[in-house]
């Protein structure tokens, strides 16, 4: 099957295991979110799927291409938006988009038309000729998203999609994600924004300490953990809820 497949992937940095035997599947047309606290291995997982890091164990396939066997074919079928885009500060937005498009060998006219539409939807079309180094963090992220989402490509990865975006752009992004999903792309997001994840995703993967602790559709997770929101379900699954209650009690005791 096409889409994204991660099978029993483990990644270690020195002695520390960051991702442990993680398996997940994102089918074409599905918008899925990896949800978890800081340092739980979300960015590392996305980095491995995008070919930036190599897994120590397990395998990953992108549109049926094994990333360790055919990394270039896998990359040709995947667009990635990092959490902190940087570099090429002296190129302007148009030049950066052109460079990115060229690397994917996509036709210019169609890509430019789409890019201007996406950038316009984000309210940032006026920065088309501005240098990347002169943009705010949020606008730089919008450019990175525009670059990736304007490609005609079957798989999209976005790390922390809502970080740095204004509320209007978050709404635009949500619609864009839904649109791309409807058009048959497999979309995988890594986020801590549970509200966004709940509203945009067809499927959620909850990760804690590099392990998959629960997964399923929003409705299924709410039902399974008797929760009113994904936030509540997440706190129950990871046990963080109990820790927060204890912490609040300790804070109260300290204030007395």
């Amino acid at each position: 099957m096409s889409g994204l497949q991660v099978s029993r992937v483990t990644k270690r940095y020195g002695q520390k295991t960051v991702v442990s035997e993680l398996s997940l599947t994102v089918e074409p047309g599905m918008v899925a979110s990896l949800v978890g606290p800081n340092g739980c291995g979300k960015t590392t997982t996305l980095g491995m799927i995008a070919g930036l890091r190599l897994p120590d164990e397990g395998w990953i396939s992108v549109s049926d291409y094994d990333t360790s066997v055919s990394p270039l074919d896998a990359k040709r079928n995947l667009a990635f938006v990092p959490d902190t885009p940087n570099g090429f500060e002296q190129l302007n937005v148009r030049e950066y988009l052109d460079l990115y498009r060229n690397l994917y060998r996509q036709p210019r006219a169609r890509y430019e038309e789409r890019a201007q539409a996406v950038l316009g939807a984000f309210g940032s079309l006026q920065y088309y000729e501005a240098n990347l180094g002169e943009l705010s963090h949020g606008t730089r992220r919008k450019v990175a998203m525009t670059a990736a989402l304007s490609l005609d490509i079957p798989n999209v990865l976005i790390d922390e999609p809502t970080v740095g975006l204004d509320p209007e752009s978050v709404v635009v992004l949500r619609r864009l994600m839904k649109h791309i999903g409807r058009n048959g792309a497999a979309v995988l997001l890594a986020t801590q924004d549970l509200v966004f994840a709940e509203r945009v995703s067809d499927h959620l993967f909850l990760i804690h300490d590099g392990r998959l602790v629960a997964n399923g559709s929003t409705a299924l997770l709410l039902e399974r953990y008797h929760a009113n929101s994904i936030e509540e379900a997440f706190l129950t699954v990871t046990g963080i809820g109990r820790w927060i209650d204890d912490f609040e009690q300790r804070l109260d005791a300290l204030s007395r």
Partner: protein, 481 residues
Amino acid sequence: MISSSAWMLFRANALCLIRRLQPVARTNPLLAALTILAPTVLLISLVWGSSRRATTLAASFGSEASAAIVLAAAIVFAIVGFNVQHMSSAGESLDAQIRSAPLSRVELFLGTVGIPFTISCLVLSILSLTLFVPFSYAVGALPYAPVYLVLFEVAIFYAAGAVGEALMRVTRRQPAALVALLPLIASWTGVGISTDGGAWPGIARPIWRAISNTKVESVLEMTIALLLLVLASVSVWILLVSLFDPPEQQTFSYAGRRLRSPSSRFGAVLCVTLKRMVRDRSLQRHVLFVAALVGILSGLASVLLPSVLPLARGGLVLLAVLSVSIVPLATYGANRDSRWLWRSAPVSTTTYVLGMIVSSFCGGILATFAPVAAATLSSFWVERELPELGAVAAVAAVILFVATGAGSLMPCRLESTSEQILSYAVFGASLGGVFATQSWMTPRLAALNIPEPLIEAGLVLTIVGLVVTAAFLREHERRKA
């Protein structure tokens, strides 16, 4: 396909570097004019200098001198080639979004390392030709000798790059990369034997014979052998890049963890910046390698070349200091991401700029100790007397201070090969300017009965003044941008 993606990547990087120079040129028109004039002046002065000295050198020329020329050229090109590649791996400086694009390892390598490396090799080869053509004409060398020498330098340059790549991977948990050294050694030995140069010193021997015109080899045989050597070096490097996975990310050590930051703001800038540099494992490896290499060469010079030991030692000290100059060149660039902290904290511009200058310079001094000790200790062992440490320290200090200035004007990151090449070019031009000014002014001022120590003190103060002024101007321009 390979060339177009690699070229696009190189073009984008080059465009960024050129645009980074534009604000410098706008705020410092004098510097911009000098940058434009410098290459022409350098070429003219090299031709003029080598033509003038060629006859004098030719009078005392022998086969030992031609061997020394070939070996010196080989060492210089090897050190430059190694330094350019040893610090960073291909694509390390690139944005994650571009790295995730469909670029093969070879394309990534060519776009970020291969093409800039080749351009710098070309520039150095032109400079070398400019220097050696008048000289080889004066000593009556074979007409092809300078071409042989340049091809030899190119082969050494690429071989040094391949060795740098292999060693960088070995220190990043890819010990199998050492295998790449075997074909390099095999090609060197094979080419050496086939051109009657022997396994050691290989093809260097027929080249110095061609320079001293003592034995004529077949032009075709020599050219093919040299081209094969270039091809072998390039192929080994590309194979290394394409067959091995990208190396592990850079890591940091915990050196100086117990050293508390001083309470003053200047002390905080100095301490934090120095800790950042000292903890960088790529820098640690680089300094240790330079120390080991210079130590080995110094030991060999003590045993094999006792008659020219002070000269060899001077050359090695110079190479050691130039190699570790990457520390002051990269201090600002490596700490670029922490600029927001110093700007938002209650730290004045003066404190920040002076803190960066002092930390760049002190970092350079710290990095110099081990390589300079390695360069001087073995000869001390042979001669039983210490070299002129005062002179060594003074020259090292001037070089490192000029590097500090170049680093504030054109900072580089440790993971970016192109930025390092540009930074080293600015540094080289500045250093050339300093030594040319010194050699031009000293005799003229001495003729006016000004004492030599006073002239040198004046020169040092002028350099310090220029570096501090350049750093302030650059910071002012950055804050305005």
